[in-house]
């Protein structure tokens, strides 16, 4: 990605595998400061693994991931925790603490990482909840709110410490169209308001293209296409065309690779 803006996150020559199973290979990605960058691709293509590598939850076999100039997997535990203070992450299903109220969930990182007086924490939390439209749900428990609302509470919690980098793992999964639009709008608005950088892992074409500045398409652990949403909409790349148009068959086969149906039914050519 060629950009005049300096990169907050850089991935270079990255390889990652679970045992013998290769997940990511030869990955090179840039995430410029202040931008919303979407990482898209089908299920199991390695999108979430990219987020986990950026967050330092797993270590690559080869290559590097650097955030704010620091190579993530070279940091010790203290260094990694220091770096993570600059990050916020939205997990696929929110990962809210179910024994805490909405208010306490958002207050959690503030109480853990700052010595702010309780009155100030209260004001900050209410402002964050106001930003996601859930100020009046502050007293509710996660079990008492909908999935879409939980996702927004998790967004408020992820941005509680005004992070430089916000990572969203499938923020639109399982949401109704209204909640999806609200969440997408929120991601863009928060990114611009906080001046942060957002990485959006998703397979929802419509919402991602609406808010992202740049998009990476992944398949089988590799980047297969990249560009601005406008570029990709008119792309001739077969994978991009299949994905954007939701075509059932194309470079991504409908059937899981393996023996043919004829082989399984014993109908193959007889000698």
């Amino acid at each position: 990605m060629n950009s005049a803006v300096p990169n907050l996150v850089e991935i270079r020559d990255l390889h990652f595998s679970y045992g013998d199973r290769s997940i990511l290979s030869n990955l090179r990605m840039d995430f410029p400061r202040g931008k919303v960058v979407a990482v898209m691709g089908g299920s199991g293509c390695g999108k979430t693994t990219v987020l986990r590598l950026i967050g330092g939850q797993i270590r690559p076999q080869k290559g590097s991931v650097s955030v704010a100039g620091e190579v993530v997997h070279q940091l010790d535990t203290d260094g990694l925790y220091r770096l993570r203070r600059k990050m916020g992450m939205l997990f696929q299903f929110g990962a809210l603490f179910t024994d805490l109220t909405v208010f306490e969930n958002v207050a959690f990182p503030l109480r853990e990482h700052t010595d702010l007086p309780e009155e100030l924490i209260r004001d900050l939390v209410l402002m964050k909840l106001n930003a996601v439209g859930l100020r009046n749900a502050a007293r509710l428990k996660p079990a008492e709110i909908s999935g879409g609302m939980a996702r927004r509470v998790a967004v408020a919690r992820a941005v509680a410490l005004d992070p430089e980098l916000i990572m969203y793992d499938e923020p639109f999964a399982g949401l109704d169209p209204i909640s999806m639009g609200v969440t997408a709008n929120l991601i863009r608005r928060l990114n611009d308001a906080l001046g942060s950088t957002s990485i959006l892992v998703s397979h929802d074409v419509h919402e991602c293209f609406a808010i992202a500045d740049y998009v990476y398409f992944m398949s089988a652990g590799k980047i297969v296409a990249q560009g601005t949403p406008a570029d990709l909409r008119v792309s001739d790349d077969p994978y991009v065309k299949q994905f954007v148009n939701a075509a059932p068959d194309g470079p991504v086969p409908f059937h899981y690779p393996g023996k043919s149906l004829a082989d399984d039914l014993g109908l193959g050519a007889q000698p």
Partner: protein, 259 residues
């Protein structure tokens, strides 16, 4: 055939040793974050309240019935020897030395231990522990250590309550129901139960059991795969491993304490 068998045995032994080593390393990791956890005593007291509340009713009811049964059995056994005045001593010694710590630990494993395992396992399955890590908060220090120390502190308290209620149960059956002399019941107990040798050793036992049971419960929850099946298996493992550990430790401690 024999080669396969040997290979399976070897693999099993190797896995068992690795598992023990991993448990030991996890235990020391937990101890390593303890100073950080102790800086926030409110988290520990919150958990003592939670764990204690979970177990209190079952401890009190069980203690009462165990004491009542001891009163009955003790009376039946002592009467042929004309030693029913010793009933208070027998009930108290059985409770403070053995039954109080051991039965409390077993009940604690079944009640609070399973709850801790399920809670940690579900937090893991719901990505709550990962979320905490990504917030630069060490879940071992923030979640596991306060629960560990709460369990370790709660166990001797619960065992003491169990023994005290058990003595009361023995008194109700022995003195109030059967008619053993009340003065003899209490005076024999007072004269023959040593605070250091009997009561304190019982407290030490329950402290050790508290470490074993709470660590087992937390470790099983933390190591569980984030699936409903494995969380439920981890809960079962907690009861089995904790109970067997308590029996084994009880034998070793009894041998050491009472020669």
């Amino acid at each position: 055939m024999i080669a396969n068998l040997l290979s399976a045995v070897g693999r099993s032994v190797r896995e068992s040793i690795a598992s023990v080593g991993f448990s030991a390393r996890s235990f020391f990791t937990l101890l390593g974050v303890t100073p950080g956890a102790l800086r926030r005593p409110s988290l520990i007291s919150e958990q003592i309240h939670f764990i204690g509340n979970y177990s209190l009713v079952i401890i009190v009811v069980s203690g009462l019935f165990v004491g009542m049964v001891l009163g009955l059995q003790g009376y039946i056994t002592l009467t042929p020897y004309g030693a029913e005045q010793k009933l208070g001593q027998v009930v108290a010694l059985a409770l403070v030395r053995e039954l109080g710590p051991v039965v409390t630990a077993l009940l604690f494993a079944g009640r609070a231990g399973t709850s801790l395992t399920a809670q940690i396992g579900l937090m893991k399955a719901g990505e709550q522990l990962s979320a905490m890590e990504m917030m630069a908060i060490n879940p071992v220090q923030r979640v596991l250590a306060p629960r560990f120390w709460a369990g370790v502190i709660a166990m001797p308290i619960l065992a003491t309550i169990f023994s005290a209620v058990g003595v009361l149960g023995g008194y109700l059956v022995g003195v109030q129901w059967i008619g053993v002399d009340e003065g003899a019941f209490w005076s024999q107990m007072q004269a023959n139960v040593d605070v250091q040798a009997d009561v304190m050793n019982g407290v030490i036992k329950s402290f050790v059991f508290g470490i074993a049971v709470t660590f087992t419960a937390l470790f099983q929850g933390y190591q569980a795969q984030p699936t409903p099946e494995d969380v439920s298996r981890a809960t079962t493992r907690t009861v089995v491993i904790a109970s067997l550990t308590v029996w084994g430790l009880d034998f070793v401690l009894t041998a050491l304490m009472f020669n």
